[in-house]
Symmetry: C2
Subunit: 340 residues, 2 copies
């Protein structure tokens, strides 16, 4: 491990002062053509890169954005992270990623850690901001952090002034219901999985009930199974519950792709066919939706634009610009093979 070379070394070899070197590095001031070229050559020669720490120290800016995600192993978050990364890189920012696994203690701990790292902004992807009713202790913590850096979240965090970037869930459910109602044979509509304590899910569920009425479809309580789960086994259980009734639904809305997979398993085990006997629509449109057979008709979010919106606004905030309190990501329905 050899000692890394500094502006002083470059300056000495070029026979100029450090500030001249700094000037060609930043491009913030004029430097004579000849010196500039000479300096660049030496920089090249030694593969020199200015120390980001020193730079960060001087303008109290690290060019790092901290991301605290619920779980990067979930394709929803990894898709979002990747698009954030892309947007950040394009704008000269790096990302440092942490996972809370939705463990409140870990969230507190990591937020502390990230703030200490002197990131320029903090982004919370899921976790505590997913709660329908805000953990006030958590909100307090965020309020302390957001005194020094902007904090952006997906979800809500009442009592804070975090910028919220959310999926337009109303729109998402309307898309689903519009599609269902346009298929006259789809009468009995079930909804499987999710938790009433989760903000986005609660929106989805209330829209589900309202729209059902609006489209003249019956709301059947037995077909609305809320079991606090978002995984395949949760979908499986929910569907088993639904199918334990006397009647079979025409279509089931699964809270996400994972739940949809479980729903499919249950349907198959009941010797029913998809989509001939039961249609399925899911949320999130992760790669899971095309991994299964039949491919899932699913609500998609344009993760690309989603991440870009998050990062773009994080940087606006870093730069001291104004940003609306909430930004909505418009969903669309991707029609595949799971609906008849």
């Amino acid at each position: 491990m050899k000692k890394s070379i500094t502006v002083v070394d470059i300056a000495r070899e070029a026979g100029v002062s450090v500030s001249t070197v700094s000037r060609v590095l930043t491009g913030n001031a004029k430097v004579s053509e000849s010196k500039s070229i000479a300096i660049k050559k030496i920089i090249e020669k030694y593969n020199f890169h200015p120390n980001a720490l020193a730079r960060g120290l001087i303008n109290t800016k690290s060019n790092m954005i901290g991301i605290l995600a619920a779980d990067i192993r979930n394709p929803y978050y990894s898709a979002l992270f990747v698009s954030c990364e892309n947007a950040a890189l394009e704008r000269g920012y790096n990302l440092t990623l942490f996972n809370s696994f939705s463990d409140r203690l870990k969230e507190f701990e990591l937020i502390e850690k990230i703030a200490q790292q002197r990131v320029d902004a903090l982004i919370l992807l899921g976790g505590a901001p997913d709660d329908l009713v805000t953990d006030t202790e958590f909100a307090d913590k965020i309020n302390i952090i957001s005194d020094s850096i902007p904090v952006l979240i997906t979800g809500r965090l009442d009592g804070t002034n975090c910028t919220r970037i959310n999926i337009n869930n109303q729109k998402a459910m309307s898309l689903v219901m519009e599609y269902i109602s346009s298929h006259k044979h789809l009468k009995k509509v079930a909804f499987a999985g999710g938790s009433s304590k989760v903000y986005s899910t609660s929106i989805l569920r209330s829209c589900y009930k309202n729209l059902l009425r609006q489209y003249g479809l019956e709301y059947i309580p037995e077909f609305d199974v809320q079991n606090n789960r978002y995984d395949d086994d949760g979908g499986y259980e929910a569907m088993n519950t639904i199918l334990s009734n006397n009647t079979v639904p025409d279509v089931v809305i699964a809270i996400n792709d994972f739940a949809a997979v479980g729903v499919m398993r249950s349907i198959n085990e009941h010797n029913l066919r998809i989509p001939d006997d039961i249609s399925i629509i899911s949320f999130d449109d992760t790669y899971i939706s095309t991994l299964v057979t039949p491919h899932l008709t699913s609500i998609s979010y344009n993760y690309w634009a989603f991440g870009e919106t998050i990062i773009e606004n994080a940087i606006r905030l870093i730069d001291g610009k104004e940003v609306p309190p909430e930004l909505l990501i418009e969903p669309k329905l991707i029609i595949r093979d799971s609906c008849r």
Copy 2:
């Protein structure tokens, strides 16, 4: 955004010098009980945290480890990342993550960027080090980087002295073959997917051939389909090719879980049953293996230990300690329902 408070502020309020404050911060020297308590109280009061940038600048150490992964959306990498994160956090390090999507240009660019960020070590998860024959230009680049920080990789990078952490692929394939040979009805063994240009795959494939012979099983060239792919459609195509022959294999080894899903799709479409007609064994044991029905019998790696080994050795290297040139992660076979 209020100006963040510094050691100077703390020192002033405590009526001591900054060095005393620094001493209680680092714990590297004795401070009188009374002053120490007073200082800690003030630190607490203001929720003060030393600026990581300034700290990093002074000991030329950022406590950040850079990870360049091929694609975090792949469950193999996200599982690995999460375990790396856990191990790093436990040891006082943070991770900064980048994705190359196995694009060579992007890899060059990002490596540059990471090095500039003054990470204490660089970890390459897949990408260029996956190549069976090393890209010498890439190796050159890595050699420059590894002059200043340790570089660890999964895979190989000939002509560099990177520490390699790899899965024991020989062992992995023996486990598979041992299992197959212990089932007397499993005679015709197919292998689907993967690329001969990938280091790990080439090991797997040569072991497949050797062990077949060793166990007295026939190597059938038509059953060995190499198509440079690692996704479900790749598995699907490979299996279609295999099934285009006159005979049907008893068991197919899929290069990973994704390929296995495609293999299953193909088998189903041929109206064959799993595992009654054809058994399947896959590599990687990601969550995909329990998402599908039947659950996949799969080679698993203990991602937890995998990540821990990577980080542990990265830190050993950072601390100037010796580390063996290659470390092997021992696989095991998780038996589920895809084999008869």
